[in-house]
Every structure is written in C-alpha cells, then in structure tokens.
Amino acid sequence: MTSATTILVLLVVVALAFDFTNGFHDTANAMATSIATGALRPKTAVLLSGVLNLVGAFLSVEVALTVTNAVVEIQNSDGSPVAGLSRDGGTALLVIVLAGLAGAIVWNLSTWLLSLPSSSTHALFGGLLGATVAGLGWGGVNWAGNGQEIDGLLPKVVVPALASPVIAILVAGLATWLVYRITSGVAARSTEDGFRWGQIGSASLVSLAHGTNDAQKTMGVITLGLIATGHWTDTETIPFWVKAACALAIALGTYLGGWRIIRTLGKGLVEIAPPQGLAAESSSAAVILVSSHLGLPLSTTHVTTGSVLGTGLGRPGATVRWRVAGRMVVAWVITIPAAALVGAALWWLAHALGGGLVGAVVVVAVLAAAAAAMYRRSRTAPVHADNVNDDWRDGPPADAPSRTTVPA
C-alpha cells in the first residue's frame, strides 16, 4: 500500500466518523419536539428517525461530487481535483480534506458536549475552508462564485444561514397561532390523537429529507478522495459501497441519538405542547423541502431551531428561554470560523510533519484523543433516553434564569 492509499483509508474512516456525528447531531431536528410532547417514546423516535435517514440516504442518487465547490476551490467543476493538488498521488488534496473533516468533527463534538444544536454542514464547510486557506492561501476560497449564479461562501452558505431562522420563525409562529386559534374550545381529549399523528408524520418527513440531503455530502467528500488517488475515475456516479457506508453511518448516528441536543431543543428552548410540535415540524418540513426544490437548500438545523423558537413566539403565554436561544445563536455564528481554525491548525500540524503519511496519522491521533476526552467529559453529566425529558433547570442558582413570557 502506498502512503497515499494509506492516507485515503484514514480519510474514509474520518469521513464516516463525521457522517456519524452528523447523524446524532441532527436527530433532534426531527424528533426533539415529538419526544418532548410524548408523541413518541424516546427510543421509538430515534429508531424511526434512523430508519428514515437510512432510506433517505439510499434514495439520493443525485451526485454530490462537487460538494466542496460551494466554499473552496480544490475541485474542478466536473469533480476532479484541481491541478497542483494531484502530486504525490493526490496526497496534498487528501491532507487538506482530512484536516477539514477532523476540524468539523471536533466542532460537532464540542457543540454536542455543550448541548447546542449547530449545523453539521457549516462545520464541514468551516473545516474545509480552514484547511484550504492554510494549504492554498486565501485564493483557495470561493467567496461568491462567478457572479452569475448562487454559489460561493457568502451567497450559498452565509446569507441563507442568516435568512433561514427568520423564515422558519415566521412560518412556525404563524402556524402555531393559526392552530391554536382554530382548535380553541375543542376539548383536549378530542385533539390528542390528531396532534400525535400530525407530529409523527411531519417529523418523519423531516427525517427523510435529512437523509437525502446530508448523507450526500460525505459521499461526495469520500468520492473526491478516491478520484484524487486514482481509485475512481467516473465523475458522474459514486461507488455503491460509498453510498452504503455513508447511509449506514448517518443512520447509526441518528439512532444513537444526540440526547443532549434533543433535550435542549425539546425542553430547553421552549416548553412545547403537542399543537406546537405539529406546527414546528410542519414548518420545518415545508421550509426544507421548498428550499431544496428552489435550489437553495437551507440548513436543517437552522430551520428546525428557528421553527421551535417561532412556535414559542406564536403561542400566547408560551415560555421562551432567551438565554438558551442566545447561546444557540452564538454557536451558529462561530461554527464556520471555529471549525476553520481547527481545520487550519490540523493542516499546519500535518504540514510541519512533512505533509505526508506521518502528518495524516498524527492528525487522526489528535482527533481521536480530542474525541475521547470530550466523550469522557460528557459522562460526568450524561443525558440519555431516560432523563431527556426531565424538567429544565437553568444552570446553577447564581446563574439567574432568564425566562420571558410572551404577553397574551
């Protein structure tokens, strides 16, 4: 095995690990509300979401080969690596992608440890951005495409990220208000079943859409590595094993369930009642599907978090914890730069060690050590299926709770 092939194997493993974190980070997006309202038992919810993600990932045959092109210029428009990165059997490109993925995983695990939802797509783009800037300089960044279509970091990633929560808050707020208006005066026992099935249906739609959107990105990254090392030449399709491995990784991650994040989104941000769960997930499904249909797919995380916030605002008298919302917004804003810093630091580390096999191995070792440390840290206050719905307490007593009640 040449050293480039060995780095490729490391890249595949790290990419699948990223896909796995992508899965458990985003279980909350689809299932937090249904778990919080009791529409589904926690274990049932993550199983349903995992299966739908698996199905969704297999359903997406659209080639996501050019996924990195949205933010950096390490690929040509047909998916092949740019000239200059293919020397040493593609090692230069592999090390950039490897460092970028590792940066994305570190950020995903940090936000998970802090119980904060954050966009895995942003983490991936951030990591790649940092590693590319470190490796190729600022010229390697695709800031705004060619000016003729929506492409590049600002139009395709940053501006939609700012707009999507606003749209989601608006839609979910309106939906919540309407649902409460229409069903006011109807006895609770007559609405229970309806809202339960409404929540399950809308949450399932979000899970399915997530599988088709997110697993594709890792598939594209792995295939890029295969092309760079000459193991794959077809720029129209991806190998079946790549698709199957990514589908399994994201589904397993989803099934594991990011309970910390589920708890924040289902219990922490807003105290959710069944009608709000229905309104939030319907709004999320609508925004996600409509935006990918119109060619500007919005981040599932930003949309669902916005929807949950909107559903708190749309119901008179609902509790919205602005302190939690504030922490989330901070996490969103710093996701790309933070993942970029880690990605860049890891690229420099690999570069200092010769930029080849030794560097790649050390990057993976550092990643594994960081992951193990964060996992151990999480065990000091574990969140799992049995305590995910416990009453929310705002930090230690000194940490004054900032609850706001929306005036009726």
Partner: protein, 103 residues
Amino acid sequence: MSHVWELEAAALGQIALAAVVLGAGLPALFALGIRASAWGRGGGAEVAADGGEHPPHPLGRALGTAVFAVVVLVALLGVGFVVASGYGKALSFEHVYPTVVDR
C-alpha cells in the same frame, strides 16, 4: 456581483412565500380537520356556544375525514418530492396533477 444578490433575494422571497403557504397552511388545515371531527363526534368534544353539550353531527365527521385526506395527500406529495429529487427528477404541476419530470 450584484446579480447574485438579486437572484438570492428572489430565491429567499420565493422560499418564504411557499413555506408560509405550505408550512402554516397545512397545520391550519389539519387543525380544521381536528375541529371538524370533534364536532362530528359531539358530546363534550367541543364546547358548545351555550356552554352545554351538543349532539354528534355527521357532517362534521365527513368534513373531518375530507380535510385529513387532503393533508395526507399533500404529505405524500412531499415524500414524492423527496424521492423524485433523489433521482434527479422534479415534480411538475404543469397538468395540475403532479407528474415526475426531468430536471
């Protein structure tokens, strides 16, 4: 450069509009279905205007079923859309009823 932002504003505007119609319209419709079937069930399912209980009403039942059917149909269209886009196709409403077309 400015051309991109025009495209962007147009896309985001379209998304917002369509999302409001679907994302708020469907749950509202669903709530109507719940209201109608509660009316159809009668008894204490819905608080009557005079505060008393009202009798079951067959029209409410029919209305509730019809509304739920529409909601399920639209949700299935959503699934159809996910599947179609996965295969590089799109749903077209050119003929009013949806058809799968190449993108």
